[in-house]
Amino acid sequence: MTVKLEVKHLYKIFGDDPSEAFKLLEQGVSKEEIFERTGLTVGVQDANLEIHEGEIFVVMGLSGSGKSTLVRLLNRLIEPSRGQVLIDGEDIAAINEEALREVRRRKISMVFQSFALMPHMSVLENTAFGLEIAGEPVAKRHEKALSALRQVGLEAFANSYPDELSGGMQQRVGLARALANDPDVLLMDEAFSALDPLIRTEMQDELVALQNKHQRTIVFISHDLDEAMRIGDRIAIMQGGIVVQVGTPDEILNNPANDYVRSFFRGVDVSNVFCARDIARKRQATIIRKGTEDGVRSSLQLLKDNDREYGYVVDPQSRFLGVVSVPALTEALKEKAPLEQAMLTHVEAIPADTAVGELISRVAQAPCSVPVIDEDQKYLGVISKAVLLETLDREGEYHG
């Protein structure tokens, strides 16, 4: 198998003068201690990877593990502190700005978690955006963009605008935009993480199907084990800036390199490794509380349309306000009371950094899925009984 993309002894140290950190790393000082002593952050430490032509290579890790930094070192959006990134044998870390721009235009494209579509441009223009930057003439870039849209099944929406599309469709545009430049390497940074689970699975399947037709080299960043297992030909697992294991899903599953890797699969440690933030899912119906109207009738309608028992009320800044239920809303509607009166008083939100092990009784006792909020009161999603059980029972899922 030909090696398309090779990473050799790659380091990223954030801060003004990384030489101090290198010295300490050589002495075997830990990343945490280096930060305390020098204020320098080790983002990626001695990464070595061989990524083959035509494979989907997933880089997986929890947040803060350095996976986003690693992917940005591949197209040099972040400057490597030391080491090589070889695409077809050419060291990206050593070329000048003109050559780098050329590589970004022709060889390597990126798909972002937030889609990063330009709201004032049509789907076609968004798709053709990379070609526009590369200086292709209008007719030619529109032709290529249309063909890219065809690949993702969005040809009919060429003249729509991003805000007219669903999240899944928007990310298809993001994908088409990356494909339009006809790159050899596709970097996907948590590309499907912002999508809801059903659409997410659909997109994963489609990516695999697309990959079967046009063999590209895809580096896919994910924090989700299920996703990694589904689409990855091989998986690299990162922990604290270090690549701790590389292998096929089966290899990793059968022979995990350390407890951290094992914890992705087995029930024993999960309750300490994961916190509420990691397992919160945005599957529930959310209701945005706007200042002016009472909102009871529209909330009720929303829950009925989506066949939901409970709705999670947030303000326009997505701060969590409370949970409403269909009976409580019906009651409030009768009494012509405001939305606040329909909120269930006994459902309390869980702070995002609560360990999964501490959640069990709260989730078990709550009538509905329990909402999770961050330090700024922002709503992150809910934890249902089913999700919690599934998390605590990773072992059963993969070995049973």
């Binding site: 940005r72 040099r76 400057e79 700005e97 780098l100 235009r105 494209s109 937030s114 990379g130 930057i133």
Partner: protein, 258 residues
């Protein structure tokens, strides 16, 4: 025309009552502002008293270099305050902000004194320092607003910026939209001020001149001059500072530094 009524330091001490009201509120509601109030009051008195003596001293000197030096001193503190508000560690703010403000605001103040008001000589401190000072004060707010906007949107909309860079675009292409919004954020307050002036508020300078016994019609003409001058100065100031800082947010290889 009436002359101004003298305020003695003794009379002035009565106005401490106003601070006591604020302090009482702070104590009652536990706002924990007492310390800041105390420091603020002392600094107000000390700084202004110092400036008063300094101004008297400078007015007597009437040397253009000294006047300009004093103005640079004021602009340095404006740039210093901007850096404090923006709180950015990865990109140098103070140097570029100070240099660009020094050049543009001196130019604009000279234009106002020399061409519009036709002061003889142009550096006469009675005109140069208050006019230049108003520019420095207003532009400080405008520049810090636009820099705050610029840096926060570079962070919040990082992926959008990275997208353009990842497609081989340069830093100008990647930050076009954010730059426009940042400059707008800086300019809008002084434009809005032109909309409401005289309706909602009586500007401090005009009120001051009227208190000092100046004919209201003349005071109004001065105020109009000031309003227009401020719009031009904030526009030019934010424009130049935003461009200078924006360039420093990227490396030569089109990488975002933040």
């Amino acid at each position: 025309m009436t002359s101004v009524i003298e305020i003695s330091w003794l009379q002035l001490s009565l106005s401490l009552l106003f601070i006591l009201i604020a302090a009482a509120a702070s104590l009652y509601y536990r706002l924990k502002l007492e310390k800041d109030l105390l420091i603020g009051s002392v600094r107000t008195v000390a700084q202004l008293a110092l400036v008063g003596y300094l101004l008297q001293f400078i007015f007597d000197l009437e040397h253009p270099l000294l006047i300009l030096l004093l103005y640079m001193w004021m602009l340095f503190w404006a740039a210093h305050a901007i850096r404090g508000r923006v709180e950015e560690e990865r990109v140098a703010i103070l140097g570029p902000t100070f240099v660009s403000m020094a050049v543009t605001f001196t130019l604009i103040t000279v234009m106002v004194t020399r061409v519009v008001v036709q002061v003889e000589p142009w550096y006469q401190p009675q005109y140069f320092i208050p006019l230049g000072g108003m520019i420095a004060g207003n532009a400080m707010n405008a520049v810090s607003l636009s820099l705050e906007r610029l840096l926060s949107s570079l962070r919040d909309q990082r992926q959008e910026v990275e997208l353009v860079l990842s497609l081989g675009g340069n830093w100008q292409e990647a930050s076009q939209r954010l730059r426009r919004e940042a400059i707008r954020a800086g300019m809008i307050p002084s434009i809005n001020a032109m909309m409401t002036v005289g309706l909602v508020s009586l500007p401090g300078m005009m009120s001051g001149q009227i208190l000092a016994g100046v004919d209201p019609a003349l005071a109004v003409r001065y105020q109009i001059l000031v309003m227009l001058m401020l719009v031009g100065a904030t526009a030019l100031g934010t424009l130049i500072v935003v461009n200078l800082i924006l360039k420093r947010c990227f490396t030569r290889l089109d990488q975002l530094r933040l």
